[in-house]
């Protein structure tokens, strides 16, 4: 993947500034500091080596010590006046300060770690000023307070959790998991964990966790992808749902394969859904906007379940007193 020119420029300028103040540095240390490969650092140095002031004679160019380069050490000889670190842009400051505040809240009831966060927040706020107020993030994972507390304790002490979980199809299960991290996605927060029952990486929505207990067993490190983006399930059958135009937002919140606008202002979405119960829930919730669906037995099932629900409501008419 090609790096954006502006990203690269910030690092190129940053490398020169850093070498000016820190002195010679090993290629691998620079790579770790700037979070790139050693090969990228070498490319960056080559790029800097031919940049300079107009004229571009040898004495006009940024210069490194060729002998130390041979030993894998980058020593700057002439930085051509690039000495000052770049100030933070508004969005950069906003994004970083908001992230710190969110992290600060996560460790709110921890032991002494908040002091470090407070001091870095204070230093950064001084450097960035008012702009940081534009974004105000407070993450409190939805769910039972005792469950959220148990998750945080397990994460910070590195211990295994025992969960009771209600999945999207409303099945209850008991699982032992090694917690990895919390991931907030719009209104929901997910615990990313290694699940011993599934012997695989699983995500658990925090407000579907019925109970959570921190065990005495230390959690084990698992090398799993950290991405929790939901994608259509390639193996699942395709269903098509036609919706009224006012339900457009559904197409933006549910992982859809394709969206087609139709001449009568309705639109169709193709979904690949492995979990039929979840799909029936969705169609029931949004029934007021559903025009059609394929295969058609989806709608017969939705209607049958809805009629059963209406019958149940008749049995719990609010007028007569219910028994305690």
């Amino acid at each position: 993947m090609a790096e954006r020119a502006d990203e690269r420029l910030v690092r190129l300028l940053g490398l020169v500034t850093y070498l000016q103040s820190a002195g010679p540095a090993r290629v691998e240390d620079l790579a770790r500091r700037f979070d790139v490969t050693g090969a990228q650092i070498l490319k960056d140095v080559d790029q800097l080596w031919v940049a300079g002031t107009p004229g571009y004679w040898p004495q006009d160019l940024i210069d490194f010590d060729a002998a130390s380069m041979e030993r894998g050490v980058v020593r700057l000889i002439d930085g051509r006046g690039i000495t000052r670190p770049l100030r933070l842009g508004t969005r950069e400051a906003v994004a970083l300060v908001a992230a710190l505040r969110a992290l600060r809240e996560t460790v709110a009831d921890e032991d002494g770690r908040e002091a470090v966060l407070d001091s870095v927040l204070a230093k950064l706020s001084t450097a960035t000023g008012e702009a940081a107020a534009a974004l105000d993030v407070r993450l409190s994972p939805p769910g039972r307070p005792d469950v959220v507390h148990a998750i945080r304790t397990a994460l910070s002490s590195g211990r295994r959790l025992h969960l009771t979980y209600a999945d999207a199809a409303d099945n209850l299960s008991e699982r032992d998991v090694d917690p990895i991290e919390l991931h907030t996605r719009d209104a929901s927060t997910y615990l990313l964990a290694w699940c011993y029952r599934a012997q695989a990486r699983r995500t658990f929505r925090t407000d579907r966790i019925v109970s959570a207990h921190v065990t005495d067993t230390p959690a084990v490190e698992h090398d799993v992808p950290r991405d929790v983006t939901f994608r259509p399930d390639d193996d699942a059958p395709v269903v098509t749902v036609r919706l009224a135009s006012s339900a457009r937002w559904i197409a933006e919140q549910v992982p859809v394969d394709a969206v087609r606008d139709l001449p009568d202002a309705t639109f169709e979405v193709d979904l690949r859904v492995a979990n039929r119960v979840w799909l029936l829930h969705l169609l029931t919730e949004q029934a007021r906007y559903v025009v059609d669906a394929h295969p058609p037995d989806l709608l017969t099932d939705v209607a049958r379940d809805a009629q059963a629900a209406l019958d149940a409501y008749a049995a719990f008419d609010p007028a007569p007193p219910t028994l305690g």
């Binding site: 502006d6 420029l9 950069e92 970083l96 991290e181 209104a187 919730e285 029934a287 709608l299 007193p321």
Partner: protein, 340 residues
């Protein structure tokens, strides 16, 4: 050298910065075009002008403001230079632990546009601070966050420059999608989701909007600095009035069902249903239900969720929630009838 290969933009931008930092007074456009490496690639004056304007904007966005210098007197070309003292990031003097915390916090954002902002900020800070990062202090505790859709970046830009925006919005109470014209003040995340708070130009009053209900893209709709962003905005006060006071739903839930609802509520006594039109409780074991009390903020979201459970959950109260769920269930029941 001198081949037909085009100079990569990073190299051209780098040479421009170095030239403008080192110029004794200022450089005119003419001087930049003829002497700074990369600009000789521009086939015409017009192409150069476009290239230079874009590069200037890019550098400003990165935090390198190019200042213009009016030569005065008889000279007719304005000059350009970079004042390093004006743009420098003051030393933060971060300790290793602080730099470590900052590196972790920068990983919080999962949305590409805003993740780009934090990684660039981190590159700048790493260049400015000599300390080595230590990451163990909050390892594992750092959450990851995705905001809803692509609205966050454009909204932050709009707030930063005080520029009004337009967007399509799906209103929860009416179910209608309509265009909104808003002066953005703040973006806020709370347990219940992401919100924009701002002044609604049509309604002439402050409003809050859920980012997840924005439809399509957020577009700038006005000039920068067209309004003032208030210095103090009580985000929580706005959001609590917007969502309405928290209510408690009383639900009759079949045994072992609706685990996610039970997880958020308190399970109390049991109830039995009765035959329609009668007050006599039914005998069938199947009709014994647990009464679960669950707090909720938004009526429509709660009604959606409860309707999804079908017969497993019956709303006993409040009445408006019961009616909202019944409306959804009746619509769902009709989906079969239409197909006779």
């Amino acid at each position: 050298m001198g081949e037909v290969t085009r100079t990569p933009p990073a190299e051209r931008l780098l040479n421009l910065v170095i030239a403008l930092v080192n110029t004794s007074t200022a450089m005119s456009k003419q001087q930049i075009r003829t002497s700074v490496a990369g600009y000789d690639q521009a086939p015409s004056i017009e192409a150069f002008e476009r290239m230079f304007e874009r590069d200037k904007d890019t550098l400003r966005d990165l935090g390198v403001p190019i200042v213009t210098v009016d030569p005065g007197g008889h000279a007719d070309e304005i000059g350009y230079r970079v004042d390093q003292d004006a743009y420098a990031l003051g030393a933060l003097d971060l300790t290793p632990a602080e730099l470590g915390v900052l590196s972790l916090a920068a990983q919080l954002w999962q949305d590409r546009s805003i993740a780009t902002d934090t990684s660039r900020a981190l590159t700048k800070i790493r260049a400015a601070d000599v300390a080595e990062a230590a990451t163990d202090i909050v390892a594992g505790l750092a959450p990851r966050v995705s905001a809803a859709g692509g609205a966050l970046g454009p909204l932050l830009d709009a707030i930063g420059t005080a520029t009004p925006v337009r967007f399509g919005y799906h209103a929860a109470n009416t179910g209608e999608t309509a265009q909104r014209h808003v002066e953005p003040w703040r973006v806020a995340a709370r347990g219940g989701g992401w919100y924009l708070i701002g002044h609604d130009r049509e309604r002439q009053a402050p409003r809050s909007y859920r980012l997840s209900r924005m439809v399509g893209s957020v577009r700038l709709a006005g000039a920068a600095g067209e309004y003032m962003v208030p210095a103090d905005v009580d985000v929580d006060a706005f959001l609590s009035t917007a969502g309405g006071p928290e209510q408690v739903a009383r639900l009759a839930v079949l045994p072992e069902r609706a685990g996610a609802v039970r997880a958020r509520g308190t399970v109390g006594v049991t109830v039995r249903g009765h035959a329609p039109g009668s007050t006599t409780p039914m005998e069938a074991e199947a009709e014994v239900r647990d009464v679960v009390e669950v707090p909720y903020g938004q009526l429509s979201a709660m009604a959606d969720e409860i309707a999804g459970y079908g017969a497993a959950v019956v709303v006993l109260g409040p009445t408006e929630l019961r009616e909202a769920v019944l409306e959804r269930l009746r619509a769902a029941a009709r989906l079969g009838a239409d197909r006779g």
